[in-house]
């Protein structure tokens, strides 16, 4: 399938705009850095929730584990700031993926609502554990080391780091979904019993998918801990009621099970949320709650899902010849 040239141009324009943000809109660097993080959240959630049909409410666990692992390494390993940050994020990502493999072998045996409920406890349990463990600062959390550069350099650095995370995750998932692995995930979503009856090793693929999701979330965790400048067990690292729920909402809003849906959903959601915080201060959480209700009621299949139902031919679902078979 050849992409139309205007699509290449649109991607190039967005890329150029994204790279120029620190020059064009320096005041919004931190906000927009968080936008890229939200996009990674929605994309990694959709890998299981949308493509594989396993709604996880515990993905924030991997984010928090990555964040803690990174900051601990930065604190204890005695490396320079950037070496510590990069090695720490990498270690956090690997730890998160290993944890997903371990948990997956148990929890991924649950299906449907049972899986969702089973994962719901993960983030909460991790938050409680972290806030009772003095080695990681207990309830007070941890503070990553100070950014060494000049004033303002920190925001620009983390803006580009967050952008890089999203810019790596999206093409990686695009490649993954085009492979047979992506088809197997879809097959599991549509009918897992059938996939097993056809001989597919579903448990192995489910666990691998969760590991991939956890890896990118762990990587993001390290960056976000440093971007925000503090690691709180319940409010930042294992923030199930904010980040954990937003991941799900953004993917649903944009369209579960599509590549671009989570990106669109994250952008719309983050922008709306920031506007609420700016213009409806005091009522921002009420407005956000209403927005969530509106999303679920009016966009049950998301923005892209709605578009696909409306114009299926645009998405390649067409009958090839005038006459149809039996």
């Amino acid at each position: 399938m050849k992409a139309p040239p205007f699509r290449h141009m649109a991607v190039a324009a967005v890329l150029a705009l994204a790279l120029l943000v620190p020059v064009l809109a320096p005041a919004y660097r931190s906000q927009l850095a968080l936008l890229w993080v939200m996009i990674v959240f929605a994309l990694t959630w959709d890998l299981l929730g949308g493509q594989m049909g396993y709604n996880s409410f515990g993905n924030v666990l991997f984010f928090g584990v990555g964040m803690y692992a990174c900051v601990i390494i930065q604190r204890d390993a005695g490396l320079g700031y950037f070496t510590g940050l990069f090695l720490g994020s990498g270690a956090g990502a690997l730890l998160a993926a290993a944890l997903a493999a371990l948990l997956g072998s148990g929890i991924l045996g649950l299906r449907g609502h049972y899986f969702a409920i089973g994962t719901l406890g993960l983030g909460i349990a991790a938050g409680e554990l972290a806030s009772g463990w003095q080695f990681v600062g207990g309830g007070g959390g941890m503070v990553p080391p100070l950014f060494p550069g000049e004033v303002g350099g920190r925001e620009t650095f983390f803006y580009y780091l967050s952008f890089a995370l999203a810019a790596v995750t999206l093409p990686f998932l695009r490649w993954l979904y085009a492979s047979r692995f992506g088809l197997v995930l879809n097959a599991i979503r549509d009918d897992e019993d059938k996939a097993e009856a056809m001989g597919l090793r579903t448990t192995r693929y489910k666990t691998t998918a969760w590991c991939i999701s956890a890896f990118f979330l762990g990587l993001t965790g390290g960056a976000v801990g440093n971007l925000l400048g503090f690691v709180d067990p319940r409010e930042v690292a294992f923030a199930g009621s904010t980040f954990g729920v937003w991941m799900v909402l953004m993917a649903i809003l944009g369209g579960k099970g599509t590549l671009w849906g989570p990106v669109i959903g994250a952008a719309v959601f983050h922008l709306t949320k920031e506007l609420f915080w700016t213009y409806l201060l005091g009522w921002q959480r009420v407005a956000l709650g209403l927005l969530i209700v509106v999303i679920v009621v009016f966009f049950p299949v998301g923005i892209l899902g709605w578009a696909r139902e409306r114009w299926p031919e645009r998405f390649g679902h067409r009958i090839d010849e005038a006459e149809a078979g039996p």
């Binding site: 097959a187 009958i319 090839d320």
Partner: protein, 247 residues
């Protein structure tokens, strides 16, 4: 004669209900055999037992010379014994072509090939098989948007895609337009002869089973009631009783 599938005294109970009671049944390689019986006689339970959907309570099941009664569904499928479902099961959110290319034998899905796209020869074979069942023009439609009968044909094509040695077909003609049944039977015979796939077919439509199978087993109340060539079984007074009630 070599038997590809051999069941010896297979027993399966759900609590107090004995769904299969010491069923002994043999299917020789390369043949089309039938399995009939009134509703609730344990045919689908027997299929589920064979493919490892649930553990059996007693007896033995051998496929291709190997005991499979302790293996699980995907393991048995990888040995080349596949079933289709009475309530057709396809991947509804994927296109017909995607349904097909992901149904290749799992031995071809190693880690490396898993993370690459489907090779062109798979696509070609998928399209050939879709043409074979008459779904060629619909290959880019979502499988969930097909009619029930079309989904049944797709499910058959998916099973063929994975190059099985033997297929267990659970009511392949149910829900298919009567005018298309003959075409389907013709395809099943070609599957059997040209691709050398052994078939064991559950069927309620007597005309179909008499036409298709060369040997028929009849179950009633979980027990094997009669067996023989279709004419014999059809005339067997026990079979008539089981279907129509005792006279």
């Amino acid at each position: 004669m070599t038997f590809i599938l051999q069941l010896e005294r297979v027993r399966k109970a759900f609590g107090g209900l004995i769904a299969n009671k010491d069923v002994t049944l043999r299917v020789p390689a390369g043949k089309i055999f039938g399995l009939i019986g009134p509703n609730g006689s344990g045919k689908t339970t027997l299929f589920n037992s064979i493919v490892g959907h649930h553990p059996i309570d007693g007896g033995s099941i051998r496929f291709d010379g190997r005991e499979i009664s302790r293996l699980r569904v995907p393991e048995i499928a990888r040995l080349g014994l596949l079933r289709t479902f009475q309530q057709t099961r396809i991947y509804g959110g994927m296109t017909c072509l995607q349904n097909m290319v992901i149904s290749v034998p799992t031995s071809e899905l190693g880690w490396r090939s898993m993370f690459s796209r489907s090779p062109p020869e798979d696509l070609r074979r998928a399209e050939d098989l879709l043409d074979f069942v008459g779904l060629g023009p619909k290959r880019h439609l979502r499988a969930g948007d097909l009619s029930f009968g079309q989904q049944k044909l797709l499910e058959l094509a998916m099973a063929l895609m994975s190059r099985p040695k033997m297929l267990l077909l659970d009511e392949p003609t149910a829900g298919i337009n009567p005018t298309l049944i003959n075409g389907l039977l013709d395809r099943l015979r070609r599957v059997n002869q040209q691709l050398a796939i052994t078939l064991l077919v559950i069927e309620h439509n007597m005309g179909v089973i008499m036409n298709l199978a060369e040997y028929v087993y009849c179950l009633a109340h979980g027990e094997l009631l009669a067996e023989g060539n279709p004419e014999q079984v059809q005339k067997d007074p026990k079979v008539l009783d089981a279907y129509l009630g005792a006279r």
